[in-house]
């Protein structure tokens, strides 16, 4: 009886310790935090959709209440986030005071993204609150995203190619009607001194039938990359690159989750304290596998897969050990070990995730891949991922 209680107690404590360590890790993750500021239906969800590739319903579900007037969305999951969006939805409400939000995440947000319809000129409230937010931290970049361009040319297709220059100015032979020009000028004048960059976009669901549902999306990503602090660029780039190579819609949805856990693992691997990370990494990787299994709706497969993976030394189980030694070498060790270890931890987690997806897909298609087959696939993915992670360190050295 007593031993039972003690066992239970110690297990609880171990989990608690692990949870705390993961929390600490997440705080050091290079997750860019976007503070979205805009009226209802000014295109905030479409913007998240364009940046992450997530579905509208998924975004809606993912939002968690944050302050009285705001909510937060961690993409793809709260456990292993890649991007964080803070949505101030109370902006339209009477008596909204940005002080609450400033106190809660004002210091954290890396970039303020102001969304407004290009033709919306009832912006007094938005401008007032933006002024307060801008004053609170003058160095933080603010991007104005003018949305719903097509309302200026109703029932017509977007002119292709996207004609806006980097500073959202239009060439002399602009294909747009004059109203759009004047409205854009007015918006730029109104937000002068309050925003650093302006982007014009028109992000519509594909079923609307526009010739480009992500009109101006690449320009938006360029602008965000340009204004984000260096460390955060990597996440966006990795996400973008990894997504580009995959055609299958389902894999595209799952991939951000793998990248999320890989980044978490890479951050854990970068901690210059040896031995601790082995436990942590194993825990992160098994959490990822179980999470992916839930996404694939095959929770039973996860257990079978971890068995195979540990038998054949997939993931960190084989190679991390050799790198561990480096950390014991004084002075040089921690630095070298953290870069290489971080990259390896990230890459191996990524490859493990990909291998599991491969496994799940195969099971779904009716045949269980053999261990050799799985190992081969893992190695290919690891080589690819190592290239990506070692070439560009994915870890923010300074979490500020």
């Amino acid at each position: 009886m007593f031993s039972k209680v003690r066992h239970w107690f110690s297990k609880e404590r171990r989990e608690e310790q692990l949870r705390q360590r993961l929390d600490g890790l997440r705080r050091r993750l290079p997750v860019p935090r976007f503070w979205l500021l805009g009226k209802t239906q000014s295109g905030k969800t479409s913007l998240i959709k364009s940046l992450t590739g997530a579905e509208t319903a998924e975004i809606g579900r993912g939002f968690q209440p944050c302050t009285r007037f705001s909510r937060a969305y961690d993409f793809p999951t709260v456990e292993a986030p890649l991007l964080r969006f803070l949505d101030t939805r109370g902006l339209d409400e009477l008596g909204y005071d940005p002080a609450d939000d400033l106190a809660r995440f004002g210091a954290d947000a890396d970039v303020v993204v102001v969304t407004t319809k290009l033709l919306d000129h009832a912006l007094e409230n938005l401008l007032n609150h933006l002024r307060t937010i801008r004053r609170s931290q003058l160095t933080r970049p603010v991007v104005l995203v003018a949305t719903c361009l097509h309302e200026a040319y109703p029932q017509q297709q977007h002119p292709l190619p996207y004609p806006f220059a980097d500073d959202a100015s239009l060439p002399a032979d602009s294909p747009f009607p004059e109203e759009l020009h004047r409205s854009l000028q007015e918006q730029k004048r109104r937000f002068e001194g309050l925003v650093d960059r302006v982007v014009a976009v028109d992000l519509t669901p594909p079923e609307e039938g526009f010739n480009d549902p992500d009109y101006g999306g690449p320009a938006l990503r360029q602008v965000l990359l340009a204004v984000l602090p260096g460390a955060f660029r990597q996440t966006l780039l990795t996400l973008d690159e990894a997504r580009r190579e995959l055609g299958d819609l389902y894999s595209r949805q799952v991939l951000p989750h793998i990248v999320g856990y890989s980044t978490l693992a890479a951050t854990a691997g970068a901690v210059p304290v040896p031995l601790v990370d082995l436990v942590l990494l194993a825990s992160i990787q098994s959490r990822m596998v179980y999470h992916l299994a839930r996404l694939y709706n095959q929770p039973l497969t996860a257990r079978r897969f971890t068995e195979i993976a540990s038998t054949f030394g997939l993931g960190i189980f084989l190679r991390q050990g050799t790198r561990m030694l480096l950390k014991w070498v004084p002075f040089v060790g921690p630095v070298l070990g953290s870069v290489a270890g971080g990259a390896l931890a990230g890459a191996s987690t990524f490859a493990l995730g990909k291998a599991f997806c491969y496994y799940c897909q195969a099971v779904h298609n009716g045949h269980v891949p053999g261990p050799e087959d799985l190992r081969r696939y893992y190695k290919v993915q690891l080589a690819l991922a190592e290239g990506a992670w070692v070439a560009r360190p994915a870890v923010a050295k300074d979490p500020a």
Binding site: L119, D120, E151, P154, Q156, Q157, L180, S183, E207, E208
Partner: protein, 523 residues
């Protein structure tokens, strides 16, 4: 003519018919058809009585005076009306004898006047003390005149009715009773057995309708009396009668008369004010209503001050004045803007709240409407103009690339129709009971849809209410200006009188009454 002369004339006129009846009866008797003829007549009369009884039972023969609240009544007035209606309801249980006594009418009128005055001036120790004498006289005049009209219209031969007749109305049943008793007596002489059977039958079934008719008649008059008096007492306590009975009647007729097709009486102009956030499309809606580009529209906020446009449309029962206002920001934050908009709203008879279908941030609109509601709650003598929400830019709703009206947005299954329906439902959800309805339109030049199909009918539907608002505003306006003018005139008349007296005293020997009285007295 004296009574015997009337009797003679009536007798002479009746003799041929009576003779015919006698001769006819004799003839029928010689043919042995009398029996059948009697049963036929009996059946016909019985049917008449039964129907008479049935319809009166259902109150169909003499319809109870129906009441529709005057268009200009406010919510407070409607509440006061409930007191009046309760009194009328209570009268049903009063005995007929009581209802035909003049004293009962007096008592009822006094009680009702006190009750309504107390309702309108709660907390006042003597609620009737602040009523002016002309007002009270106006109530009496108006109610009396209306009752006269009612009697003329609904009571056959009402113009011959004297007070004596009225007092005797109750006794009419007795006269009928005596007459019929005489009939039965005569009939019994000829055919005792059959008559006895018939008498018994008629006693059971046929005398009830007559009593009911009498009761109905008296109750009808009593109810009409309470209703009319109540109506004017409500107007009295609301202060609307201060302008005098004549002017009141004139204004009410002007605002409530059905429009004449020959244009002899010009219907009053209805002021329609368009409110909304900047760029919601107020000017575009005005242009669409006018059918021409007169209000300036632009991609940037274009309207700088309230502008007025006249709309004369043969389809409309009255001319409209459309007032374009400056749009407010999406939270309507500027106090002076809200004040100006409220001011414009107070001078209108109908409000169109213009909403952009694709901009659902409507806190500003809600704030504005709530502000208006509070203002009218603080001014219960005025009526809040009805508010219609106009949902513009529906062409931009998804699918945005499509514009193929007409759209059956109430039932249709096309994506656009469903989205219009959703947008209307969303606006209704946000605004709730603050608006009377939500009408989706597209007012963009070249794509106008829904203005003639949906908006104009909705406006016409609200015109009666709008007329009521206009009338109330007019009554209040006349009362306020009239009060000042009247006092001024009375003062002037008093001053003239005083001057004349002083003048005459100073010039007693040579005073001439024809001299100009306005001259100041010589000091």
């Amino acid at each position: 003519m004296s009574r015997w002369r009337i009797l003679l004339v009536v007798g002479l006129l009746a003799v041929p018919f009576a003779g015919l009846a006698v001769i006819g009866s004799y003839y029928l008797w010689t043919l042995h058809w009398g029996f059948y003829a009697w049963w036929l007549m009996f059946a016909s009369m019985a049917l008449g009585y039964v129907l008479g009884w049935y319809w009166q039972h259902k109150r169909r023969l003499l319809r109870m005076p129906e009441f529709t609240a005057p268009v200009h009544w406010t919510e407070r007035d409607a509440e006061a009306w409930r007191l009046v209606a309760a009194r009328a309801q209570a009268a049903v249980s009063l005995p007929v004898e009581k209802l035909s006594e003049i004293a009962q009418y007096e008592a009822e009128a006094r009680q009702m006047a006190l009750e309504l005055a107390a309702f309108y001036h709660p907390g006042a120790s003597d609620p009737v003390s602040n009523l002016t004498i002309p007002e009270v006289l106006a109530v009496i005049e108006l109610a009396a005149r209306d009752l006269g009209e009612l009697v003329d219209r609904y009571l056959p031969g009402g113009h011959l009715l004297t007070v004596g007749d009225w007092r005797r109305a109750r006794q009419a049943a007795d006269w009928y009773q005596s007459a019929s008793n005489l009939y039965w007596a005569i009939a019994a002489l000829f055919s005792p057995v059959r008559t006895a059977a018939r008498y018994a039958a008629s006693k059971v079934g046929l005398s009830a309708p007559w009593q009911m008719l009498q009761q109905n008649l008296v109750l009808w008059f009593y109810t009409a009396f309470i209703h009319r008096l109540g109506t004017y007492l409500i107007d009295l306590n609301s202060g609307r009668l201060r302008i005098g009975a004549g002017r009141y009647r004139e204004l009410v007729e002007q605002y409530t008369a059905p429009p004449c097709s020959d244009g002899s009486s010009e219907p009053p102009v209805v002021t329609v004010t368009l409110l909304g956030q900047v760029k919601a499309g107020k000017s575009s809606v005005i242009n669409a209503l006018l059918g021409e580009q007169r209000a300036r529209t632009d991609v940037l906020p274009a309207t700088a001050g309230a502008e007025r446009y006249e709309l004369k449309n043969p389809d409309l029962p009255s001319d409209l004045v459309l007032v374009d206002t400056v749009g407010f920001g999406h939270a309507g934050p500027k106090a002076d803007q809200v004040a100006a908009t409220c001011e414009a709203a107070r001078n209108s008879d109908l409000l169109l709240l213009v909403l952009h279908a694709r901009m659902p941030a409507r806190q500003g609109d809600v704030t504005l409407l709530d502000g208006l509601r509070d203002w009218y709650a603080a001014h219960p003598d005025l009526k809040r103009p009805p508010v219609l929400a106009v949902l513009t830019h529906i062409d931009l709703l998804s699918p945005a690339l499509e514009w193929r009206p007409p759209y059956d947005w109430r039932q249709g299954l096309r994506a656009k129709e469903q989205n219009i329906r959703d947008a209307v439902a969303a606006a209704k959800g946000q605004l709730g009971a603050r608006v009377a309805g939500v009408v989706p339109v597209c007012a963009a030049a070249g794509k106008i849809w829904g203005v003639e199909e949906e908006l104009l009918p909705a406006v016409i539907e609200r015109l009666d209410e709008a007329h009521g608002v206009a009338l109330l505003r007019c009554l209040k306006g006349e009362k306020d200006t009239g009060k000042v003018r009247k006092i001024f005139e009375q003062l002037l008349a008093a001053a003239k009188q005083a001057a004349r007296i002083v003048w005459e005293q100073y010039n007693r020997p040579s005073a001439s009454p024809g001299r100009s009285p306005e001259l100041p007295p010589r000091a």
